[in-house]
């Protein structure tokens, strides 16, 4: 195994390959962040649609039906397929792979985030809403001032998890010829005929990023809980 150094050199240093990894990593992160933001915005909207209250005599609102159908379709199909459909069918004339991928992952993530946010809102004691209403506040005012701030604390850990899943899921963007960290590692391994170094190297990078993220989320969560005094 004395050629380990050479293999490492070939995989990461030769021909400034580390630049490829860095660019790949940059793409992975920027797609994840863009998609994450889209996912959270969509998720909040979908969750509020889902929780909208029907008029007397109706079982559910149209908004609720739309939101449920959205979640069903997105969660019932593979995300690779969603990405391919977005790239080759819906936006087949687009050349901006980054935007299409970010949108695709965002739409996918929105479905999961909406479930998390819905559960987070429902987990807030329903007496809180009643107290707000009994004081003459509207539902929207109580939602904004009382329910959503409390729901944020409930949803932070699962949203963090969802974001971590999202980062790893972006590893499929190679399907639409975007060079993210995973694809770069794969390309280098086929060029150097050595799979071990690039693939393990990429895996370690993913692991480290997610570990750091987990630690930051834990810290943020503890800060948010301070007002609880428990």
């Amino acid at each position: 195994m004395n050629d380990l150094g050479t293999r490492f050199y070939n995989a990461f240093i030769a021909k400034e390959r580390y630049m490829l990894y860095l660019e790949g990593l940059g793409l992975t992160i920027s797609i994840s962040i863009t998609a994450g933001i889209i996912g959270i915005i969509l998720g909040v909207i979908l969750a509020l649609m889902r929780l909208s209250e029907p008029k007397k005599g109706r079982k559910r609102t149209i908004l609720c039906t739309i939101s449920t159908a959205y979640s069903d379709v997105i969660r019932g199909t593979p995300s690779v397929l969603q990405l391919l459909i977005m790239w080759f069918v819906i936006f087949s004339s687009s050349k901006n792979g980054f935007l299409v991928a970010a949108l695709s992952f965002g739409i996918n993530s929105g479905a999961y985030v909406s479930e998390i946010i819905r559960a987070g809102i429902l987990a807030v004691d329903k007496g809180q809403m009643e107290a707000g209403l009994s004081l003459g506040l509207t539902k929207a005012q109580t939602m904004k001032q009382i329910i959503l701030p409390q729901a944020v604390k409930n949803v932070l850990p699962p949203i963090g998890n969802e974001f971590i899943t999202l980062i790893k899921e972006t590893a499929i963007v190679g399907y639409v010829s975007l060079s993210d960290l995973t694809r770069v590692a794969n390309q280098v391994s086929s060029r150097t005929y050595d799979a071990f170094m690039p693939l393990i190297g990429a895996a370690i990078v993913y692991f480290v990023i997610i570990k750091i993220l987990t630690l930051l989320l834990g810290k943020l969560e503890r800060n948010l809980r301070k007002s609880d005094n428990r």
Binding site: K56, D125, G127, Q128, E130, A131, G132, L133, S134, L135, G136, L137, T138, Q141, Q145, I146, P149, Q150, S227, D228, N229, R230
Partner: protein, 240 residues
């Protein structure tokens, strides 16, 4: 002040209110007693439309509030409600709990609301808790603050939904004292309660609700000393 005509309410197949009619005048202190599941809390919650009645009319000062065209929020501003489980806003400090609604609904400026809140807190002996969060308070303290929160809206009537049922026994007194004081000041109030001694002492009229109707109503001395219906006799023999 409040007139209720023929109120019906059911939850799915369960009929909870089966035709309740009564009138509540300004200055009255009404206690509502009855076995659990009799519909007394639902009746109270219908008065400010937290539960929507299926049929029947509720009038509040010449306004038909069961009319869908009524602005329910405006009506609720004038009716304070105190809950069994306090329901203080968990993400707000005591002072924010009390000032949120008056400021948001533009009834008072921020300064006025704060001043008023501190004055009211002083009256219930909790001025030192103004900046605490609800989770750090005892049940009795929470309930006294919940009462103050309602009072900060200057309501015309106060509705109490079993205000002492979730309290440890040693804290019941401090909350009842606050309610008694309010009663002496002439506040109109409707109280659902299991505290018979309190109902007897404070109320001007007691309603006994069972099976979703008012089975018997009377002045407290008479209702407790000479109950007429068999139901009320049975009930009183169990709780007294």
């Amino acid at each position: 002040m409040i007139t209720v005509k023929d109120l019906y309410k059911s939850f799915d197949d369960l009929k909870v209110l089966n035709g309740i009619s009564t009138q509540i005048d300004a200055g009255e202190k009404i206690s509502i007693i009855g076995p659990s599941g009799s519909g007394k809390s639902t009746f109270l919650r219908c008065l400010n439309l937290l539960d929507e009645p299926d049929s029947g009319e509720i009038w509040f000062e010449d306004q038909l509030i069961t009319d869908p065209k009524t602005d329910v929020n405006k009506v609720r501003e004038q009716m304070g409600m105190v809950f069994q489980n306090f329901n203080l806003f968990a993400n707000k400090t005591v002072l924010e709990n009390i000032t949120l609604a008056p400021v948001l609904l533009k009834l008072k400026s921020k300064e006025e609301a704060y001043e008023n809140a501190l004055k009211l807190l002083g009256r219930v002996g909790l001025a030192s808790k103004a900046d605490s969060y609800p989770s750090s308070l005892s049940g009795g303290q929470k309930q006294r603050i919940a009462i103050v929160r309602s009072l900060a809206m200057n309501p015309k009537v106060m509705l109490f939904d079993e205000p002492t049922s979730a309290l440890d026994p040693e804290m019941v007194g401090e909350v009842l004292d606050v309610i008694k004081e309010l009663a002496h000041e002439g506040m109109t109030m409707v109280i659902v309660t299991h505290e018979m001694g309190f109902a007897r002492e404070v109320s001007t009229r007691v309603l006994f609700i069972d099976e979703g109707i008012i089975m018997e109503e009377n002045k407290p001395e008479e209702l407790f000393s000479s109950p007429k219906t068999k139901r009320l006799q049975d009930f009183l023999s169990k709780v007294l």
